[in-house]
Amino acid sequence: MPTYQTSAGESWKHRTSREQWIRWFFWLIGISIIAYAWQMISEKTVWFFVVDAPSQAADIASRMVPPKWSYLNKLWKPVWDTLNIATLGTVIAMVIAAPVAFAAARNTTPNIFVRTLALFIIVSSRSVNSLIWALILVFILGPGVLAGTIAIGLRSVGFCAKLIYESIEEIDRTQVEAIEATGASGPQKMIFGILPQVLPTIAGVAIYRWDINIRESTILGLVGAGGIGLQLNGSLNTLAWTQVSMILLVILFTVFISEWVSAKVRGAII
């Protein structure tokens, strides 16, 4: 009870003293844990290397300049692969995610069994990183662009389906009710009442995920799943620092372009 009696009459505090003590106690525990962890990390760090870090970084940076511009000619193909992995992966993801989302949303799911299955698909897709999907798929399909594309697709299904089903659950019910009242069938209710309300979200999610996938697909080459990461890995292993800097510049440029495109498209949809 924050209201209490004083000699001057009634007064009010935000918290009772009991609540205040409990909060103090939890702050104390939290800060103790941080202090302890800080000490542990500091003990396990080889400070000799850390002290050395600025000069090491400066050394690598100096080896990186100037970027090897001639290497650019060998990068066009991997960049094109990277874009294809991201785009096709997103298309695959959306094709799977749309029905999964309708099965997962409380207001459109046919029954509890289907809903549980859909939620399971979403969780399992989201719990595995695309790099791990790629590792597994390279074992199954062999190295190359196909493994990367499917890895991106599988990883994105959960993300897209989750965002879409949340938006399906938030639609305005009266619009659907009005369509139902005209004597429309179930599928007609879907295309006239529900789809127009979630279409902007579906398009927005696809663009957003495409944007993320371009960044994700640049590293898939590290495990042999195609794209520019393959060149990056090779250059790092051979200590070809001028090539590394060239690749990083190309990735930066690609991501910049994709940001710009997705911002434009998103603006056009809404």
Binding site: D172, T174, Q175, E177, A178, I179, E180, A181, T182, G183, A184, S185, P187, Q188, I191, F192, G193, P196, Q197, L199, P200
Partner: protein, 266 residues
């Protein structure tokens, strides 16, 4: 033409929203349903087209027992019942034309509705209706670009293109300003008269109910506590429906407005 008998609705919470409502509404009658919030007005009209399933009792439209229809027969029956909503309930991201044509969904198949391939007679009728409510020039606008009064007119067109026998109207003026409210109520009244439609209109505003209806039914906690002509709404009756209050101003306003309404109409 529309007969409700001993209609009851009990929600999962155990509360009765309707405790046995019996009403017989002849063809062409415009009936205003008044009562405080929570009296069961919305539930009553939704029990007619079974957007809400009644618990017991019967609803007959032209001798068809609606409460026992299978889901496909219910869809066919719903085509003859147009509904108009409080917040218009237009599909916001579709155009005015698409919204009006959605009233024909009960008559066309899935692929034709998916491709928006409506028959030319439907499209002609949609233009006629939009012209009748003064919105023909707005046909290609998206519904969310319209004002409240315009949206409600589109909602009226959507209900009428169904070629209904009955209009179920749920608080048509609750989101509108007083002037637009009167215009919308007058429009509904005129259209019912032109087409010989039966209508149940839920309305909060006692004064609009008196102005635009031939019969008033007062609902209180799921029971009919008044059923009679609009001018029978005395302070005693209003107290029975809504509870104790000084009703003299409400009734005076309605008496004055009655003459005014007649002047404007004819």
């Amino acid at each position: 033409m529309l007969q409700l008998s001993e209609l009851k609705k009990r929600y999962n919470t155990g509360d009765y929203a309707l405790k046995g409502v019996t009403l017989d509404i002849p063809k062409g009658q415009v009936l205003a349903l008044i009562g405080p919030s929570g009296a069961g007005k919305s539930t009553l009209i939704r029990c007619v087209n079974r957007l809400v399933e009644p618990t017991s009792g019967s609803v007959k439209l032209k001798e068809i027992e609606l409460t026992r229809l299978s889901s496909s027969a219910l869809r066919r029956a719903r085509r003859k019942m147009g509904m108009i909503f409080q917040e218009y309930a237009l599909v916001e991201r579709l155009t005015v034309m698409e919204n009006v044509l959605s009233g024909r969904l009960g008559y066309v198949g899935f692929w034709r509705s998916y491709l928006r391939n409506f028959s030319s007679s439907d499209i002609q009728e949609a233009y006629r209706l939009l012209d009748r409510v003064g919105l023909k020039h707005m046909a290609d606008k998206r519904a969310d670009e319209l004002s409240g009064g315009q949206r409600q007119r589109v909602g009226i067109c959507r209900a009428l293109i169904q070629d209904p026998d009955v209009l179920l109207v749920d608080e048509p003026t609750a989101s509108l300003d007083p002037k637009t409210s009167r215009q919308i109520m007058r429009l509904i009244q005129e259209l019912c008269f032109e087409r010989g439609l039966t209508a149940i209109i839920n309305i909060h505003d006692v004064f609009l109910a008196q102005m635009f209806s031939q019969r008033v039914v007062g609902l209180e906690l799921g029971n009919v506590v008044y059923d009679g002509p609009p001018d029978g709404l005395t302070p005693e009756v209003l107290t029975r429906i809504y509870g104790e209050e000084d009703w003299s101003a409400t009734i005076k306003a309605a008496e004055g407005a009655d003459d005014e309404a007649e002047d404007e109409e004819f």
